[in-house]
Amino acid sequence: MQDDLVACLRAFNRELRRRGAMLGDRAILRERILRAGGRFVRLGGAGDYPFGSAPLVAVDGSTHGFGGSYPYVVYLFRAAARSSRGERVVEQGYLSPLVAAHREEVAQVAAREGVPREHALLLVRDRQLCRLEVRAATAAVGAVGPGLVLFDGGFLRYAHHAPEEWEEYCRTARAAGAVSVGVIEEAASSGLARAVVGEGFFDRDLLFGLLDPGEALFPAPVKRGVYTVFARLSRHPQPVACDFLPEHSQQAPAVMEYLYRITPSDSRGIPLFLDLVDAEVRLDEWEVELLLTTWVEADLRERFLVPHRARRTY
């Protein structure tokens, strides 16, 4: 029954091997990056927190859905900004096409983007999550006056899905003098790869195993958009990407030193404090189910939400 699949996977494996070979070896890649204006820096100084008594803030959000196919589904959202001194700003919400106002927004996005409503729902969901995260961050900046704000995820995501909120956040942070960093655990960018190896490749292809543990790659500063530093903060060969606003590229080295310090060397390379907030806000299947079973009456849940496939015997 699996013979065909095996053949497929063999071919796939050959393709991946060829893709790897096209990149060339590590030394050559590093050389090309240097020529493109990048700088490899070995982290591991004292790693002191560069912002004195202004606290650290970490921002993350989580969403989890429950239900069957469109529109019988509900998404719950939870976003939080937490300061190292213990303050928390939490934003929560829900989204379901069963609610008229939400359905309206989905329909608008579907029309504007020219996609089916179920795809539009996913877009609205991402938008909603980004909005809540940025709102929490903005409120936290106002409330606690942080020196450094860590986001779980890149800035482009916020700029794309919640442009107005993101603008406002940037204004507020700038006014408060807070440096923002978006930590991306799985870089989906392609800018560096395009510059170094050409089209068709992504930064991940290039960077896996390229850096030594504790090494960071600072590209040439940029004027607009986002300044992204790559770093292997733990022993894991997959580096993380850290987005800075262009005006903060000067502070990036000191910030990266500190992030290196607060990342456990045995971990996947995410600063510990960010991981803690991630764990705190995470809505998992168990919790969502528990919440819905407790707070949505059984008949309504069965009628509108429980996917029929959940009733399978096997």
């Binding site: 790693g47 002191d48 606290p55 650290l56 213990g86 310090r261 456990p264 803690l276």
Partner: protein
Amino acid sequence: MQVVGTTTQQEVWVASRDRKFVINELLLIEDPERENPVGEVVSTSSLNRYLPLAGEKTPLVDEGVLAGLRAVGYRIEEEEVHLARVRLLQEAGTPVTVGARVRRPAFHEVARYLLPARYRDGLVLGVIRGTGHLTSELPGDLREVLWLYDPERGLYPQDGVPFIFDHHQMHQYPHIGIFGGSGSGKSFGLRVLLEELMERRIPAVVLDPHLEMDFSEPFPGLPAEFVRDYRDRFTVFTVGVDVGIDFTELTSRELAGLLDAVYPLTEAMTNAVETLHRKRDSLVSFGSNLRDLIRAMEEEKTIQAVAEDKVADPVERERIKRYRDLLARYKDRVGGVSTLNAISWRLNALEKEGVFTAGTAVLEEALHRRQLVVVRGPVRLLGVYAAYLFRRLYARRREFQDARAKGQEAPWFPPFVLATDEAHHFAPRGEREVPARGIIREIAQEGRKYGVFLILATQRPALLDDTVTAQLNTKIIFRTVRALDIAAIEQETDLVREELARLPYLASGNAFVSSALVGRTVPVRIRAARTASPHVINPFDELAQRAGEADRRLLEVIAPLLPLGAFNLDLHLPAIQGKLGTPVSFQELLDRLRALAREGHLRVEPTPFGEQFLPGR
């Protein structure tokens, strides 16, 4: 504090970020629909989800990382979450609301769960654990009513709500069991109970095989206002000295039991005793029957050969007639001469111990005076004596009660309590015949009707007679380690899994009280006794102390005679012996001087005549 997770009508989980839960503390759940139930913490735990057990998926976090976060004010240690399993004191009608707020109750909110209705008059046994925070809210008559003791802390003042046992309710729920291994505080518990009986002048009898039931000495260090003089509240009797057995009241079985206590009887002997013994036999009548029968059997041939009318001496004739009678009546029913001889020497032994010289009158008078009666004697004898004594006292009380029930006049005999440690010796489970078990069973089952109650302490509840155990309506359970005993406790009490699991780890003096009176298991710390057990000095300390005394004495004696040595020891030996008061040889003395020198009490210098001992520095 907040209710979390899945709840039931009986149990909830409570979580807190800021405070650790205290085992057995009471918590009030603010759930108005269920009338704000109160529960008791039955297990506690604390966890930090960010500091898990290190494993493949959860590596240990480097110290540097934590230091880096501490620098910005974040302490991962503070992520600790505290959890408690809370069992409701009274079942709620429906499951408790998840998310309900939880707080520590005020005293007036929980008083009804903690105190019996007639608390002013009950037995004050200790404090209820987990109620420490309520101490300051207690009304005056519940404050400073006891002291506590812990081998490490010593004596310390009352810390919590007193545990008061309403003994009046024993009328409905009679008898108390005290279970616990050695060092668990069981004997202390029994002492405290007996003190409370004396305090309220409740007549009681306690068997004292270990000679520890003396209440004359106050507990060392106890503040004066808590010291009580119980010297006129108890009397010690020793079997065979002040109290004994009225032989005429013995049943055949009791007599056999008594003889067996001297040295075990064979079946033939038991049979012989039961054959020979008649109701209302006196020691003299039974003893002479026994001795004469032995003589008769020994001289049987001669006796049977003599023609009665040929004997001139009337006394001798009478004797032969009596012997023939005895032979006719008993010969075939009592076995051989050796069997009877064996019974005879046992009887003599009992007689010599004085068991039959005194009766129980003085003891009964003490009960009339509402005293605690302490009965001492060798363990084996005590078992038999207890059978006799308990039966007799119980009968006295019954006679009075029965007569009164029939509307007849009868001399008053007070209700009383029978107490003993090592109860499994007196009423063991199993086939083996034990003299006291029958009467203990009877009192266990019927004593309530007559106002006769048992307090049975044992370290082996598993070995205690089932019928008796089942009737112990209140059980005070101290540390127990043996699995067999824990299993017995599990069967006989309402202790739940968590409590049973804690039994092997209970600190000395801590106990669970499982009682039909209270309707739930109460964790208790038994109070400090007001009096001390007489033999508390450690035998090994005693040895060291004695040795020290002997050395000091010798030093005193020889001090004026120094310097001493082998050269002049002969000369002084008689004087030294005289002053020490014991003969001591030359060599022995020399050895002891050397030993004192080794310990630095004397100094040694060599001389041409051998070593010389000088005063130590």
